[in-house]
Symmetry: none
């Protein structure tokens, strides 16, 4: 473990600033969160992308959202084979232990993971096809949906359409988990498909009547 | 997809408030992030826990941190077997595509995942032992480290010690990825082990000289 | 060049301390900044005054702010006459090459340049009126705004008011540069007027609705 | 002035953190600096580049360095023609009013301004040749020195050599200011030529005996 490094000093300074202001002003709330445990109202599955901050967009505070972030906000299908499934573990914990009332999948514009999947599907990314490519194998989850957008000739439009498909694929896969389907059926959990435009600050949701994404 | 629901109105209202204020005042930066792409300085692996907000603690804004969040901030060992490995995909993307300079693993107090693992190891959580338990199988990553803390008789102290082991286990597993070991060796990536106390707002880092966590 | 001297040894020692600590712990980030180039989010125009450290106030690290510092944080009007215009060159580079999203003009209390301008306007500084006085000729940029504060009888109050006028004069002059006006209009650049109180650690911004400076 | 915007909230938060920690812990010093005025020991002329932080490299605190930053750390020759000369004003103020004991010119690697000058000299940057290009006209200060490096065939090596020439050209121009030459002659001011390597954290000074830059 001799390779571990101390924290860069600019982060230490910022942390101390946070401790002296935000933490200090909310100490009682932080302590209550610590002693009583978390009780989040919603789970959010969003991308790791540094430009997507769900807590900022929704003005969410400590304790509100249980957040899983992975490449391209994907959920794999239910596969209880005894292996490590990090995303499935987060969902199981949120729904069966924390009993969140809402589960939101948040896609976003300019998603590098989704673009990588498009490149693979077009034969432009042989390095992602390799068995050893974790990104490529992860994006395989979305790959079967490429047919739905392969006809779109404009590249930017195609990427946006596929980003929305990544949200829908995740929602569909969520329903393959027995505990999710059950909670949705009995009305204790609702699922939401969302997509945000980074540059324009837009937010869309999947509208089941229109069978399309629409601005919130 | 008829199960998907519109966004709860309190979140719609908050979003619209964000759009009219934060987004509006920073439109130029968001647009630049959208057109030029992200270029985060650091990746953070933290827990999904709703009480842990790394961007808040470090005063980080859109574009600074590439963030992966899973149960108990765990990294599995390198296993390029062609299956979906969500966590490994995030690391691969951050290090080989985005070329982040820092990779921080952030553990935290009162971690439900770590507690679950302790319960399993003590034989108190048969439901987590089931093959179908995604949380149980995910926590298997940490399980071999239980010996290091099994002697600690105080429950709270044991949990804190194991939370820190989850950080160290992740750091050790990170080094099993060839592209990480290489980047660390050539000095283009540094790894950091961190642990935060939710109730007290504390922050500790792993100090290689002391071979222990110490306040930053 | 025989007049150049080696660095004082106390600075050599401090540099070597920095190299062994801050640099060493952030080598990966410095190397990435060197190879990939800078991509600052904001430009700051502040005074040369040794008491004003914008990076400290804002917890900014290497790579965040493109900083121009001159006497009294002044921007001259657009004057493309083929002569050397150091300040205009910095603005042009920041906005047209680096495409910063924010441009902040930061004034401050106890500004010696602003005080010199007041002295000139009151006829108390004949040495600054000389054609050869670079400081005097530089403060001519601010001089026409003296009418706005000439009625204030309290000296300290007048100086503070004029320091704020130096910020507003710079903002107004910035808008005379075609590439700034254009970027502001299309929403790719936002301008900010700031003033800091050195002794009290205060920070104010120009509030367009109140048409006055207000604490942030 | 209706175009001015409030400060982005992440900067407001960081500022408040600074106020509650760094400022709060040093309030007496800040107040003394405010009431007694600045008394910096040295002036530094460095580049606006966001990657160059002279206060960090030298562990300098509030009040130590009077800092002018412009494109490529250039000083124009003495030209008392009654026009605005921002850089000359900073030098005059530092040497004749503040009476600094040291004046350091700090060049750096990967300098965009210096590279632009090389491009102009090679006929590769017609846009910088335009009368309206402030960057181009500013770099004209350095242009006459291109002959000294035009023979170097390796691009990176040539850029480094020209960056060092920018420091020497500024030192030579400083000596054309009567008040500088006088202060240097009477021993009340010493000039220093420095160059820093961003990626490697290196620092070199101009060694008059060796007539070359050497590591400090």
């Amino acid at each position: 473990m001799e390779f571990a490094k101390p924290l860069p000093s600019y982060l230490v300074q910022r942390y101390q600033g946070w401790k002296a202001t935000t933490y200090s002003e909310n100490r009682s709330w932080y302590r209550r969160l610590a002693t009583e445990g978390q009780r989040p109202r919603a789970m959010v599955i969003s991308c790791c992308d540094s430009r997507v901050h769900v807590t900022s967009i929704f003005g969410a505070d400590q304790g509100e959202f249980f957040i899983h972030r992975n490449i391209a906000n994907l959920v794999p299908p239910y596969e209880p084979d005894g292996d490590h499934h990090g995303t499935s573990a987060t969902i199981e914990y949120a729904v069966t232990v924390l009993k969140v009332a809402h589960l939101m999948v948040l896609g976003h514009s300019q998603c590098g993971g989704v673009q990588g999947c498009i490149d693979m599907c077009k034969g432009l990314a042989p390095e992602l096809e390799r068995k050893e490519s974790f990104v490529g194998r992860w994006m395989d989850i979305l790959r079967p949906k490429y047919d739905l957008v392969s006809d779109i000739s404009d590249d930017a439009e195609q990427a946006r359409a596929f980003e929305r498909q990544s949200v829908l694929a995740s929602l569909a896969n969520l329903m393959t988990f027995p505990f999710i389907a059950e909670a949705v059926e009995e009305g204790s959990l609702s699922l939401h498909g969302l997509w945000t435009d980074i540059g324009e600050g837009g937010l869309e949701y999947y509208d089941t009547k229109a069978k399309a994404f629409a601005p919130v």
